[in-house]
């Protein structure tokens, strides 16, 4: 035993030394956190409580930590409109029949609070995580000049929900062959007022001039 005393003491005091450094860094970090995120209101906290209540972390990640069964929610509110998210949270399949997120029984006011909470999350300074996809250009149209309709499609965030040729979101119908199934009048009218064409539609109306919507419709009709 005796001859190991030195190495034993090195183990004990060395570990304590590193632990003390950790404590110092912890104090420093805690003091800097408020400056790296917006203020936490009552609603943000209520949203966080609901987040824990339904065990969202059991399927999703947030800040990249959690379960890997469902998408990361750090920046969701930057991508999807509030009204859409609210409907999705309350009843996912009413928005997207293929959704595998179950109906958890989230109440409307809880959905509002969760969205406020997720908006808070989206504003936290995460040292630029998640990173912008560096190969996204490769998945584009390969050098060809975009048409006006295509440009509007890209700038309006349609691809957050819809997919064309494998690129885009999965929470709304795939538009790869939409030109085969819908005609001009339907598309135009639907863009201006989705619920008038699809009962209970969760798609946000397109905010653009009639001329632009016309161009968007033309683009849709080319997708066959």
């Amino acid at each position: 035993m005796g001859s190991n005393k030195g190495v034993r003491n090195l183990f004990i005091f060395g570990s304590l030394f590193f632990f003390v450094i950790l404590i110092v860094l912890t104090f420093d970090t805690l003091s800097k956190l408020p400056g790296r995120a917006p203020e936490i209101t009552e609603d943000v906290n209520a949203g966080k409580m609901a987040w824990h209540k339904y065990d969202c972390i059991g399927c999703h990640t947030i800040f990249g930590n959690g379960s890997y069964f469902a998408p990361d929610l750090t920046k969701t509110t930057d991508k999807k409109p509030e009204a859409y998210l609210k409907r999705f949270l309350i009843d996912p399949k009413s928005v997207n029949p293929k959704a595998s997120m179950p109906k958890l029984g989230i109440m409307p006011e809880e959905a509002d609070q969760i969205i406020v909470f997720l908006k808070w999350i989206a504003k936290v300074d995460t040292n630029d995580w998640p990173p912008k996809p560096i190969l996204a250009g490769a998945a584009g149209v390969g050098g060809r000049e975009l048409t006006a309709g295509e440009r509007l499609y890209q700038s309006s965030g349609c691809s957050e929900c819809h997919m064309i040729n494998g690129i885009g979101g999965t929470t709304a119908p795939d538009l790869t062959h939409i030109g085969n199934t819908r005609d001009k009048a339907w598309l135009f009218g639907h863009f201006k007022n989705p619920p008038a064409y699809t009962p209970d539609s969760a798609m946000p109306a397109v905010e653009a001039s009639d001329g632009e919507i016309e161009q968007l419709t033309e683009y849709m009709l080319t997708l066959k």
């Binding site: 035993m1 034993r8 790296r36 059991g58 399927c59 800040f63 990249g64 069964f69 999350i121």
Partner: protein
Amino acid sequence: MTIKYKSQKIAESFYTFSILLFLVQVLVGIIAAVQFIWPDILILNFNTIRTLHINALVVWLLAGMMGATYYVVPEESETETWSVPLAKLQFWATVLAVTAVIIGYIWMGLSPQANSLVLGTRLLNEGREYIEAPRWADILIVISVLLFLFNNFMTMLKTKKWTGIQGTLLGGLTVLALMYLPGMFYTKSMVEDQFWWWWVVHLWVEGAWEVIAGALLAFMLMKLVGVKREVVEKWMYVEVGLVLFTGILGLGHHYYWIGTPKYWLWVGGIFSSLEPIPLLIMVWDAFRTTREARVVTNKAGLYYTVAHAIFNFVGAGLWGVIHTLPQVNKWTHGTQITTAHGHLAFYGAYVLLVLSIIYVTLPALRGVKEFNSSRALQSFWWMTISMVFIVLTITGAGMVQTYMERLMGLDYVAVKSTYNLWFWIFRVIFGIGFLIGVAIFVKDYFKIGKEPVSAAERG
């Protein structure tokens, strides 16, 4: 061979409880894997199944370590456990609390509204991974662990034989208990929530638990091949020392992207890349010691012990270090790469550790000198080959996910449901292979010492 002290027998109760939960863990794990393909296959959603999977894992490993401690401390202290009734009480209290918590998870899974707020805390599920157990259960767990520590410290005090092994073992266990506390209070900030959550998770698996593993490894090497205490203990101190010197600040590798300051990229990157070093020393230690062995009566024990050292290094060390630098982690963070590492690390570092200590101590507990090791080796290969393939499968899925989702910007669900579909199918198949290995192990556990060993089967 029989146990030297009657009270060591209590270890067996913990082992039995432990491996029953192991079986539960693997069964629900297979369900979780199937849910990646068919999410609605069961009334219980994925989150509930996963909660059961990871909680069963943590609890059975802890129960195994407790059993090991009740075996090791009397042996090292050369006396009976301070209080056997207390140990029994602590055992049954643990079984009861764990059962209540499991019922609570299932109840919450069936009706989420039942997870109501009582005295400011959630009644059934705290909604934080690994530490889902509600606050009332946290308190019971802490009491149980305190009783356990108290009992073993009292045993040590009886003879005051301060051996390095039991000192390190109980030191690791004390830190383990202390590091549960940072997960026991509510914070309004999700950033702070994750900050303290990682104290629990990281300082457990890369701190306290690894110290316990170092102590048990030393004990097993001593028992298996009869190396001198002085030598094993010296290397044990080197190993657990380096574990903590690198692992404590290695915590920073979880503070890159959760809203904490940027200096953690440096602290976490530097210290966590050094974490594999002590794990490599453990491998070398295991090989060096066992090569000198002349007569080995417990072949299964030796096999598992050496495998534990190797896979601790591969799973925790190698599969950990590949994504630990911030420049890499930025792209792989929160993908299936993490899952792959989590599986191989837990398997190598702790599943094999608990199974080794069971094989090393069980013959004495059952009062036999030798046992037929063929089933032990069979289950080892079923489990290990299956686990290696599970991990390769998920690593593949993680590479595809990192490339398509993180680098190309494709949609999460699209990657999961189309590009990665075959990986999920293979994972289920290898999962069933793993279950076969567990079933053989469970059978072996109940048979050892209860069937005659013929001369031909020995060794």
